[in-house]
């Protein structure tokens, strides 16, 4: 293993694999805050050059958090397919990049090795990818998952309907989700973020949503984004849920801060297999976001992209129906501006797809970040063209409860039009039946935008 590289005659020396990974990352304010970023632009490129020459084995054998102390590391290291690993362990990261991008490398060929890649390896190759690389690479790696319906088709684009409200008022949420459905949003997931994380309140929400979806025969999956333990309690008490949700992070320490661990997630999955209302195999929904580990002081001096990859490494254990990188939610101390958010969104999607995750993105931003709706629409289009499985849908991109901006009903279907992707098949037919969508699957129908069709 060589940890020195040379640029313009100057030698750059790196401490260890973790140091190379950190310094090879594209500029992120969170890596600077953590003190793991390259000091100069040239040092960044020198680190990339060093990384390009490391092998899959070098990276696999040097996880960023110690095996003995971190259950996420154990989950990732023990979870790979060793036959697949044997096939590619001696490849350099540069060769891995070129293999993925080669026109003659098929989806099946990538899948022959991808189960042998640890999260750290996925992060490593992502650091050598430019924007178009991330797009071309991800397009080759569709991931299909089934809960009530199946998502992941390359020619389809789906959305999570997120009808949040400041007090979880049912009538206020009803008019919000009715309008969302009328704009053909809600095929990926029909689920809100509760303000009140109590069993009584979450039970009430689950029943309302589930009854509405079944009454109107909407082909989608229902979920309420409370803490996993609250949802489990509701489901044990008989509440209907197609999926169970949890925010996860890339280290045990950071997961502790979310009040979650592997045993708890195992139990949640088992509960859904026996008591969930979705008939497919894929019944979990996770949210992640770069910077969560540093924010919980659980980043093990690793860069935030690598820690994010480890979230997907953990998620893989549960073959979730959806994983959502809530990319711009955390703030400018982790992702400074629209440029850093867009880069992170593209990276997360690519890494997730490489690891076999049904990857979506909450393209979003807060008001203390140098980013606006134009930046956000750019990211939605870039990721839609990359084959992203889903985005969020909130009224006019303004989430009145979480106080951030995401992608709006009017952005979502327009993105389908821009990249010529229709809704998920069953949902497309339903939207046509309701008069929300024309026969072509792209033009909005006469009832679009009128929530009172349901009243």
């Amino acid at each position: 293993m060589i940890l020195k590289s040379k640029l313009f005659g100057k030698v750059y020396e790196f401490k260890d694999v973790k140091d190379v990974l950190g310094k090879a990352n594209e500029l992120k304010s969170g890596d600077q805050l953590a003190g793991v970023a390259a000091e100069t632009v040239q040092e960044r490129i020198a680190a990339k050059a060093c990384l390009a020459n490391l092998t899959v084995k070098d990276i696999y054998e040097n996880p960023v958090a110690p095996y003995e102390e971190d259950e996420v590391t154990r989950c990732i290291q023990d979870g790979i397919n060793f036959k697949a690993y044997e096939r590619c362990k001696n490849w350099t990261i540069a060769q891995l990049r070129e293999f993925i991008l080669d026109d003659h490398t098929t989806t099946a060929m990538i899948r022959d090795i991808s189960n042998g890649l640890s999260a750290e390896v996925a992060s490593a190759v992502t650091k050598l990818m430019s924007s178009i690389d991330l797009m071309i690479g991800a397009q080759k790696m569709p991931v299909y998952k089934t809960c009530v319906t199946t998502c992941g088709y390359p020619d389809r684009l789906s959305f999570r309907l997120q009808p949040n409200h400041t007090t979880d008022d049912l009538d206020a949420m009803r008019i919000t989700y009715m309008e969302g459905f009328s704009y053909c949003v809600g095929d990926a997931l029909f689920g809100m973020n509760p303000v009140d994380d109590t069993v009584g309140s979450v039970d009430r929400v689950l029943r309302d949503y589930w009854d509405f979806a079944r009454k109107w025969e909407i082909p989608t999956q229902v979920c309420c984004l409370a803490h996993v333990t609250t949802q489990m309690e509701c489901i044990k008490n008989g509440a209907p849920a197609d999926m169970i949700f949890q925010s996860i992070a890339g280290s045990q320490i950071a997961n502790d801060a979310f009040g979650v661990n592997i045993a708890m997630l195992d139990e949640a999955q088992d509960l859904m297999v026996h008591h969930g209302t979705g008939h497919g195999e894929d019944v979990l929904y996770f949210e992640t976001g770069e910077g969560a580990e540093l924010s919980a002081d659980g980043h093990w001096d690793a860069d935030q992209l690598t820690m994010e990859a480890r979230c997907y490494g953990l998620a893989k254990r549960y073959h979730p129906y959806l994983v959502d990188s809530v990319v711009g939610f955390i703030g400018p101390e982790y992702l400074y501006d629209g440029k850093q958010v867009a880069r992170a969104g593209m990276e997360d999607h690519f890494m997730g797809k490489l690891l076999g995750i049904s990857m979506g993105c909450d393209a979003c931003y807060t008001n203390h970040m140098k980013c606006d709706q134009n930046d956000n629409e750019n990211l939605e289009i870039l990721l839609a063209a990359s084959g992203c499985n889903f985005f969020m849908g909130v009224p006019c991109a303004d989430d009145c409860m979480l106080m951030y901006q995401s992608t709006g009903f009017h952005d979502d279907h327009a993105t389908r039009q821009a990249v010529h992707k229709k809704p998920l098949p069953e949902f497309e037919k339903w939207c046509q039946k309701m008069g929300f969508l024309e026969e072509d699957g792209l033009t909005l129908g006469p009832n679009a935008g009128d929530a009172s069709v349901f009243l």
Binding site: S29, Q32, L33, P163, H165, T166, D169, D171, A172, M173, R174, I175, T176, E179, Y183, P332, E333, Y336, T366, N367, H368, K370, D372, Q373, V394, P395, C396, A397, D398, C400, M403, Y404, Q405, G408, H410, H413, A414, R416, Q417, L444, N447, A448, G449, D450, A451, S452, V453, L455
Partner: protein
Amino acid sequence: MVSDDKLKEIIAQVVGEMMKDAPAAKANKACKSCCCENVSDDSLEDLTAYKLNEWYQVPNAHNEAEYRRLKMLTPARLGVWHCGAREMTNTMLRFRADHAAAQDAVFNEFPAEFLEQRGIKEFATRSDCKDTYLTRPDLGRRLSEDGAKALKAFVSKKPQVVVYASDGLSGTAIEANYDIVIPAIMNGLKAYGYDACEPFFVRYGRVGAQDEVSEVTGCDVCCVLIGERPGLATAESMSAYLTWHGTIGMSESKRTVVSNIHNAGTPAAEAGAHIADIIDQMFKQKASGLDLKL
């Protein structure tokens, strides 16, 4: 030698000749006659004057009355209609206006004139500019060396209560609420008989800076009024964080918070009176945060 006046005359003449045939000059003239002479004194209606839950523009809805009734229950931007799959122009402009207010609240420098006009003394944190403030939360939690020294000199004798303001993530919130909330708190404290030092301002401050303020001034209760991260609904929301015997590195659970102070939330006058009551309770119970029973 040509005199200055003569020179000016020559130049004017040459320029005049040049302009005579220039198409740009003609265009300017045409423009003047068609748009500038018919200017009305009226202003367009203020896009931001409408309450979002009353803004409704769905034509021929299946059930307009019920649509409007339900929409009143939420600030979500609903019933806005569409052109193709996209937003109507007024909806798009209203969103951009609300975001503009939020961005200006965060990124504009807190005006020095505001402080000068009121004779408010300013102290510095270790953040030297807005950018550092946003990317290095740790630096906004500490006073600069000079700032700490100056504050110590400013507070000559140990006060029971320190009340100060900080721009935080919205200077706009301080500008909107300061003149009402400060007298309300100070009058309340006076009525309870507590001694408070003159209010001051800490630029680029995070909430945690109040712990160093407590240590430097030796106060019993420290109350910082700080601008909240703006949402699209308002850029004027302010919070008050209060501690009893604050120290650097103390647990976050020892802070008592009064949030959402703005016209559509808890109005500043009401909040000020409430804060004075809380301070009185803090003296009685000698506690703050989770340890304080209100």
